[in-house]
């Protein structure tokens, strides 16, 4: 290990350097409670960067789920509601219908969105509610300690699939995003991730588009983020991201699934 170098900016550096990246103002001072390396907080930050850049902090209302991101409103410096488990899109529907000129998004985990909230998710999208749904797919129930999710991969061990998920007991991992993409009311469907700088840049573009389309009344925008859960997966953050690329991507390949005409 090389000797440590000055960690603060020197006077000279202060003069010559300009800040090109800092935590956005749209995040509060509160430290994230997430486990080390968890993708949730990256997504939070990127989302808030976009809100900052589009200058829509005063017009954006977010809906937090029940899941590890239940406290999203502690971090995102915007008006938010915490929905009951699975119902974020129903809550978002009402907010948007009653405040149609606001930007509304629901932020949900895979248990929340694709298990208990399946009906609300599908009908919100089928109605083409003019909102953005951010879907964090980490293939596990993070918050409750690592149970199988509907998106858990086959063979994956979790506390409720101790010998690995099997088709016989639990069926295949559900491709909810692809089902959603079929619905005519849905304008934009994309699958993103946050395990590399480039992935983060792509996600940012996706969020920007999502808000743009919402402004243009194009219909529902659905953004899946294939994410990790180092704690639930019982891996280090680096292992988790590697595992994600090797195992999640083959089943949930990143990329646009539907774009507006």
């Amino acid at each position: 290990m090389s000797p440590e170098i000055t960690q603060d900016l020197t006077a000279e550096e202060q003069e010559q350097l300009e800040c090109v990246y800092a935590k956005p103002e749209t995040l509060t001072e509160t430290r994230f409670h997430y486990c080390p390396g968890c993708g949730h907080s990256v997504v939070h930050r990127v989302l808030m960067e976009v809100v900052e850049e589009l200058d829509i902090q005063d017009k954006t209302i977010g809906i937090a789920p029940v899941g590890c991101s239940v406290f999203a409103y502690h971090y995102m410096n915007i008006d938010m509601q915490g929905a009951a488990h699975g119902r974020a899109s129903a809550v978002a529907t009402a907010v948007k219908r009653l405040l149609p000129d606001r930007y509304v998004f629901a932020y949900q985990g895979d248990g929340d969105l694709a298990a208990i909230g399946t009906a609300e998710t599908i009908h919100t999208c089928n109605r083409g509610e003019n909102i953005m749904i951010v879907f964090i797919n980490n293939a596990i129930y993070g918050m409750t300690g690592g149970q199988m999710a509907p998106t858990t991969l086959l063979g994956m061990k979790t506390s409720t699939s101790p010998t690995g998920r099997t088709v016989e007991t639990a069926g295949f991992p559900i491709m909810i995003t692809n089902m959603i993409a079929m619905l005519p009311g849905v304008a934009y469907v994309t699958r993103q991730s946050v395990e590399t700088p480039n992935a983060v840049r792509q996600l940012k573009k996706a969020f920007t588009k999502g808000f743009q389309y919402q402004k243009e009344h194009k219909g529902t925008c659905f953004i899946e983020v294939v994410s990790n859960c180092p704690s639930g997966w019982k891996m280090t953050p680096l292992q988790a991201n590697k595992w994600l690329v090797e195992n999640m991507f083959p089943v949930y390949p990143p990329g646009d699934i539907k774009v507006p005409a």
Binding site: D58, V91, T93, A94, L99, R102, E120
Partner: protein
């Protein structure tokens, strides 16, 4: 006659909601209350209301949560099984202190039951069908006029106390027609603004968030203490009831909603027979008019509780009477409505039995 109309209770309630400035309705069809959704899908939409037929009652109540959280005046309605599905959502709404109106046009249960009128959901309404310590203000109309009037009241109470209000009406009140006069809606002046609503974070204020989650038990206990204090305030100020022929009464019937109408007639019939009986009609089922009952209990020879269920409100009556007078119960279940004659018979049996007992004692 101005704004007097002949309407079903369900329609009157819906019309009153429009007039009360309700901005959003979210609901799912179920007999015997679908007319509320149907009326609003037509009239409400025409008059600018957001009316959404949701995919389920679970979605409906969570839409109400969202709409109320966004600061709008919103409501839902359903009937018994549908209301059961809303219990989680109602508990959330109560805890997050969101003002809204929930209407239960009660049908016969349990299970799928019947679609006929019932009061089987009393316990669910007043003791909290959902988890945790919370209360709903529960208003029990007993005429089509009240189906309309209580909507104004309900919305104002909801806003005043930041609490969900339930209108509990049995199916008959939803389906019957009476004339109803719509007085102009003037929001009560105690109705406060909603600076807490999530309408978009302005620079000049901190972000608003609506939640029912508090990770630390001590924090959650504070939330509970706050709620309990609020409930005490409500209990002090918002008890509503009607007393009929109580002054010289030796017996009192206690009944609400349709059963109170039936019992009113029974009082008239029984008085004609010389039985000195009165009627207490609780209008707020929570907070319950315990004080009035308590104050007259010791001069009564008996109390007869009449319900369209197996005996639920009778517990609140017994809690108020606390042994000061014998409490009797007469009920019909599963969608059957008692007739005034049955109630008189039940009353007669009590009176005669007591006379007989008194005679025996001598």
């Amino acid at each position: 006659m101005g704004d007097t109309r002949l309407m079903k209770g369900n329609e009157a309630l819906a019309e009153a909601a429009i007039r009360a400035g309700c901005q959003g309705y979210f609901g799912y069809p179920i007999t015997p209350q679908s007319e509320i959704l149907e009326y609003l899908a037509d009239e409400g939409r025409k008059r600018g209301m957001i009316v959404l037929q949701a995919e389920s009652e679970v979605a409906s109540i969570n839409m109400v949560y969202g709409g109320a959280g966004a600061g709008a005046r919103v409501m839902t309605s359903s009937s018994s099984p549908g209301i059961s599905l809303m219990q989680e959502g109602i508990s959330y709404i109560a805890c997050a202190e969101l003002p809204c109106l929930i209407v239960n046009v009660n049908r016969g249960g349990p299970g799928l039951g019947t679609i006929q009128p019932s009061q089987g959901d009393y316990f669910q309404s007043v003791k909290g069908g959902g988890h945790g310590d919370y209360r709903l203000i529960v208003l029990a109309p007993s005429s089509v006029q009240e189906m309309a009037d209580f909507v104004y009241d309900a919305f104002d109470l909801a806003d005043k106390y930041r609490t969900p209000v339930l209108i509990l009406a049995d199916g008959a009140l939803g389906q019957m027609m009476e004339k109803v006069e719509f007085r102009e809606y003037i929001p009560a002046d105690h109705v406060p603004p909603k600076p807490w609503a999530t309408t978009g974070k302005l620079k000049e204020r901190a972000r608003n968030f609506v939640t029912s989650l508090h990770m630390q038990p001590e924090q959650m206990e504070e939330v509970n203490k706050h709620l309990q204090a609020k409930y005490r305030t409500i209990a002090e100020h918002e008890v509503r009831y009607e007393l009929v022929a109580a002054d010289d009464a030796e017996y009192m019937i206690v009944a609400y909603g349709l059963a109170a109408r039936v019992s009113h007639r029974a009082v008239q019939l029984a008085r004609a027979e010389g039985i000195r009986v009165g009627l207490l009609r609780p209008i707020t089922l929570w907070p319950y008019p315990s004080a009035v009952l308590q104050s007259i209990a010791s001069r009564l020879q008996g109390v007869l509780v009449v319900e369209m269920n197996a005996g639920q409100m009778v517990e609140d009556v017994r809690l108020a009477v606390e042994g000061r007078a014998p409490v009797h119960f007469y009920g019909r279940m599963g969608g059957v409505i008692p007739g005034p004659d049955e109630v008189v018979r039940a009353l007669r049996a009590i009176v005669h039995n007591e006379v007989a007992q008194a005679a025996e004692a001598h």
